[in-house]
Each structure stands twice: as C-alpha cells, then as structure tokens.
Symmetry: C2
Subunit: 147 residues, 2 copies
Amino acid sequence: MSEVFLKDALVTLKESGVRITPQRHAILEFLISSETHPTADEIYKALEADFPNMSVATVYNNLRVFRNAGLVKELTYGDSSSRFDFVTHDHYHIICDHCGKIVDFHHPGLEEVEHLASHVTGFEVNSHRLEVYGTCPECAAGANKAK
Amino acid sequence: MSEVFLKDALVTLKESGVRITPQRHAILEFLISSETHPTADEIYKALEADFPNMSVATVYNNLRVFRNAGLVKELTYGDSSSRFDFVTHDHYHIICDHCGKIVDFHHPGLEEVEHLASHVTGFEVNSHRLEVYGTCPECAAGANKAK
DNA sequence: TTACTTCTTTATAATCATTATAATTAGTTT
DNA sequence: AAACTAATTATAATGATTATAAAGAAGTAA
C-alpha cells in the first residue's frame, strides 16, 4: 500500500514539473514508511548511509517542494524543530506530553466548528488544525520521567 | 476589566513567590491590553521607550515565568517566532492565511473529540489545541496579496 | 549519443529566534 | 537600613533554517 502512495506521489510531482531525483525518491519513501513524524534532521541522518554526500539543505529544499505540492504537511509544536507528515487521508494527532510520541487517530472533520468560527468572525474558512495532548499508555504505565 | 486581569495576575505571581518587577508589570500590562498576539520581539520593541535598557532575555525569561504560572500561552505556528497570548477564558483562534491576523472566537470545548482520541489510542488526555484558518473580511474585500 | 538548457545538489556561510552565562542590580524580609 | 536572594543586563553561544554560488545531473532536441 505504501507502494501506491509512493507511486501516486511521484506522479503528482512529475505532473507539476518536478524532477525525480534519487534524493527526492528516498526522502519520500522514508516519509511514507515512517511511523514517526520525523524532523528534517532525522530524515537527514536516516538517509546518511545511502547518501553520504547529501546536504541538509537538500532535505529542507525538498520538504518545501513536497509541501508546496500538497504531499507533505509541516507540524510545528512548541519544541525547536518542525516535524513532517506524509499526507494520506485526514487524520488528527495525539501527542504524549512526556515522551513526545505522536499517534494518529481518525475523527470526522469539524465542519460545525468551522461554520461557527466563520459566522462569528466573518472569515472565509479554509481549514483547521487540531491536536490532542496527553499521556501515552507506556508513559502512564512505566515511571517514565518527563522529557 | 483589563485592570482586573492585571491585578489577578499579579496576585497569582506573588502567591507562587515571583517578584513583581517593573519589567514584569509592563510586559503583563502590554500582553493584556494587546489585541494582537505579540511575539517576544514585538513586546521588546513596544517597551523600548519605557525601558531603554531592558534586555531581550528579560522578555523571554518572563514569558517563561508567566507560562509556568499559567498566565500566558505560547502559540507556535509555522512561522519563525512564537506568539504569546494572555490566558483569560477558553477561546480558540482563527488565523488569516493572507495577512496573518489572529482573531479569537468562542466555542464549547471539544470533549467528545478528546474522548474518542483517548478511547482509540489509550492515551490519558490532558488538553487539545484547535485553530481555524481562512481569509479575513478585509483581505477578502481588498485585493490584498498573500504574505 | 551529443550538446544544451534548466533544475538540483552540494558545501558553506549567513540569519534569526531563543537560551546560557556571569556580573551587576534591585525586591523583599527582618 | 542590612542581608539574602532573585531578577536584570550585556554578551556570547546554540541550533534550526535559509541563502548563495559553484558543480553536477535530468530532460530535450538534434
């Protein structure tokens, strides 16, 4: 199935005139197969073995390319670096306050909230962002210390 | 009414053993009276006239003190710097994709989403974060260009 | 294939928000 | 007012991200 995602993504890129380089292929593949939501640096380090000469700038550049193509979403939390998430279908994130783990969960879109917000403020609404915070089962069970 | 907020905030701080300095007073006052959700640098610049010798570090230090005391919330969006919001009662934000304006709106808490997330993922839920994005009336009316 | 154009990568330096450090100053309590 | 301690200041350090310029590779057309 991740095969399909990758193929679709490559088609999307080609259609918007973006060249498929080995680095782009690898970054996409890593993002799709990744359960975690990696930072740019994590991607860089993960691909170091296969691309010893790749520059960090390449990772950042291509994450921006993917974001502009709608393939990838950038997640900005309080901490220092952004995380990147391959866009599949709509899902939200729940984040552990202790270990930082991010888990996906599905929920129908919050159209009702969008409507209310639009009505009250006069904005034309495009999208929304929702995250839930808490403690993951592992941290709740073990006596894990806060990060 | 902002008088009340300020007084309450000062009491809260004193109770947790935090000294009230002129700088802290001024930063709090500015945050409370501010309609926008300023960055640390904006606060720094706004108080430059009254505190010509104040250091940026003081602004950051005190924003952290306020955040730890629960008086201030830090908002991290995609852009480079955090914004700070004096916590009054629960509200959400709607943000203009074009000019970046942030407007408050009220909506009952999303307990139902929290419950679902908790049930599906096994997390203990503490809180959530929600933002709505769109185009503000001014940008929709004028031919304003995207930022 | 060859040559050509354009986009991409690389290496490096620059930027900019935020934090750490150490010395000085100022709140608070007695 | 004296003393104790926390806060401020000035400055340097850190660390993520972006800009730049030169070298390399994709796509294209002959």
